[in-house]
């Protein structure tokens, strides 16, 4: 059984900046020393709505990037889509607002010991944590190629500086409004063959992760995916964010995506059984 991230801490952390980037908000938070403990894939759980809020649960957000050399001390960047009540509240908070957060939480993307070719696949704003990951993989000598997909162009998150760490970046939209028309999973088999990809890293909606797993299984490529399952606590005590995962002996365990994830081995997740009776 996995245990909670040993570096997890609860702290009060001020917002350094909050900028709108297309359909998303880029929120930078001063988290001090905690920044150094955050790894690509980890997430943060933030209390939302203020003291008199009727929202009693924390909201989990992927940590897209951390900086430890910034002039304000250690910072954490989040890319947030103002969809629900909690994320709308967070996106409306300005510089100086102090957030109650718990970080770093969950598992991190595993980094190959050898400098192998890797493919990063992001769906919608799920691409955000992939840029920090790309920097790390690039610094280890890996060839990094990236695929980004969304239903429409305005939902693609691809910051200009993000392109620096990747060898290539291709964009796919279902309506063809940006990049190529089609699904982000369409070109994966060809890329695996052409570039001899050893590891696929993915982050985005569950159907996309399931579709990538099918391809990675077929080509016998390692698939590390960051899952998205709704959570009440983020720290492993509520048992709501479970996913069916295959054990070594072939049996199934309902594992918590906040403790055993969000980064999981895609080939072990029983995607067809998500939401089914065990």
């Amino acid at each position: 059984m996995m245990q909670i991230n040993k570096s997890a801490k609860q702290l009060l952390a001020p917002i350094v900046s909050n900028k709108r980037v297309g359909q998303y908000h880029q929120i930078i938070i001063n988290v001090g020393d905690v920044a150094a403990a955050c790894k690509p894939g980890n997430f943060v759980a933030i209390s939302v709505g203020g003291d008199s809020s009727r929202m009693v649960l924390r909201r989990a957000f992927a940590i897209s990037r951390v900086s430890t050399s910034s002039t304000v001390g250690g910072t954490m960047e989040l890319i947030v889509a103002p969809h629900g009540q909690g994320s709308k509240w967070l996106c409306s908070q300005g510089e100086g607002v102090v957030l109650d957060l718990v970080a770093p939480l969950g598992t991190a993307f595993g980094i190959p010991t050898e400098p192998v070719p890797v493919l990063l696949v992001g769906g919608g704003y799920g691409s955000a944590p992939l840029f920090g990951l790309a920097e790390l993989l690039n610094s280890r000598g890996c060839r990094v190629d990236m695929l980004l997909g969304a239903s429409t162009g305005s939902k693609i998150y691809a910051p200009m500086e993000g392109k620096r760490s990747v060898n290539s970046m291709r964009i796919y939209t279902e309506d063809g409004s940006m990049g190529s028309s089609g699904r982000v999973t369409d070109p994966i088999p060809e890329i695996i063959r052409d570039l001899n990809v050893a590891v696929i890293y993915s982050c985005g909606p569950m159907p996309m992760l399931a579709a990538i797993t099918k391809i990675s299984n077929e080509f016998d490529v390692v698939h590390q995916c960051a899952v998205e399952e709704s959570m009440a606590c983020g720290i492993g005590i509520c048992m709501t964010c479970v996913l069916p995962v295959e054990n070594e002996d072939g049996s199934t365990s309902m594992l918590r995506s906040c403790i055993d994830g969000p980064v999981m081995d895609g080939s072990k997740v029983l995607w067809d059984q998500v939401g089914q009776h065990q």
Binding site: M1, Q3, I4, K6, A8, Q10, S47, R54, M55, V56, L57, R58, D100, V102, E229, S230, M231, A232, C233, I235, G236, I237, C238, M239, T240, C241, V242, L243, P244, T252, S253, M254, I259, V274, G275, Q276, H277, Q278
Partner: protein
């Protein structure tokens, strides 16, 4: 100024503080131990354990509601043997005081679980969670039926002997809670845990189907607190000598004090820990301050204080 005596007792079990986790809201205790020493609260009430390992219900298992949440976990757990081998030793190692919560599908299963716990050292009390479907009675929840509730508690009492305190956890979804409380106390319960979650449901208006995988779920959080206060007040009025572990949406020291004044000897914190991992610690220090501010020198003086006659101070 004399120091506040913050201790409480349930049956023959003594706790240095009246603050506990709520069963099913602290997993094995390992996760909260990352945020504060478990021995600093009154005790850990473990997740209700059953005879065998259970996968629980399908997702979605959760829906946030105004000032609360619905959950439908379905008692996912490792089963009693793995629980006793792994979780209990960890809690003992942390010097936490332990209340083991048990759940069964038959009257017999509760007794079987009690038999396994009888010889385990380091346990302060047993919570009997009777808000489970009785497979021998078309899935009717034990806690909604006086006779089966009594049979469960009687079976556990006979198996466990006279030593370990038994706390019966009752459901508020009944017509006459006092009758059930009286019944389980007559059958051998030393204390009562009030209240379990309130049955609720959410329908997703986009899919136009029930949101939860389990269709219905248990409502918890501040939304149910007035129901809990009412339940504690009514039961304490009828059974003033039976200790009550109060719970249902406690998220501040003020909320905890409200339940103590209604008649609770201890407080369990559940949903508040989901929103704030250190909620139990802040509730504890706020409660101490509130009791001191009101001139109480012990927690016990405040238990049921709202029941005092009109002319009293």
């Amino acid at each position: 100024m004399t120091a506040l005596d913050f201790s409480t007792t349930i049956g023959n079990a003594w706790f240095p503080a009246p603050t506990f986790t709520a069963s099913g809201c602290a997993s094995s205790g390992r996760e909260l131990a990352q945020f504060f020493p478990l021995r600093d609260m009154g005790g850990v009430v473990t997740k209700s354990v059953m005879s065998k390992a259970r996968p629980g219900r399908p997702t979605p298992r959760m829906a946030e509601t105004p000032s609360g949440m619905l959950n439908s976990i379905g008692l996912q757990g490792p089963g009693i043997d793995a629980f006793l081998a792994k979780d209990v030793p960890f809690l003992i190692d942390q010097k936490a005081r332990i209340i083991v919560s048990i759940a069964g599908e038959t009257v017999e299963e509760y007794s079987t679980l009690a038999r396994k716990l009888r010889s385990v050292s380091g346990i302060s009390a047993i919570e009997v969670n009777i808000s489970c479907p009785n497979v021998e009675s078309r899935g009717q929840v034990f806690a909604t039926d006086l006779e089966t509730s009594k049979r469960v508690i009687d079976g556990v009492r006979r198996t466990i002997g006279g030593e370990l305190p038994i706390i019966a956890k009752l459901s508020p979804d009944v017509t006459d809670l006092v009758a059930i409380a009286r019944g389980v106390v007559d059958a051998g319960a030393d204390g009562l845990a009030l209240i379990n979650t309130v049955l609720g449901m959410v329908i997703n208006v986009d899919t136009m189907r029930p949101h939860l995988g389990g269709i219905t779920g248990g409502l918890s959080g501040p939304a149910i607190r007035p129901i809990a206060v009412r339940a504690i007040y009514q039961v304490h009025a009828a059974l003033p000598n039976t200790p009550i572990l109060g719970m249902g949406g406690v998220s501040s020291g003020k909320d905890a004090l409200e339940m103590i004044l209604a008649g609770a000897s201890g407080i369990s914190i559940g949903t508040a820990s989901f929103g704030n991992p250190t909620a139990i610690m802040s509730i504890q220090s706020e409660l101490k301050q509130l009791l001191t501010d009101r001139g109480f020198t012990s927690l016990k003086q405040a238990v049921g204080y709202a029941h005092r006659p009109e002319q009293a101070q």
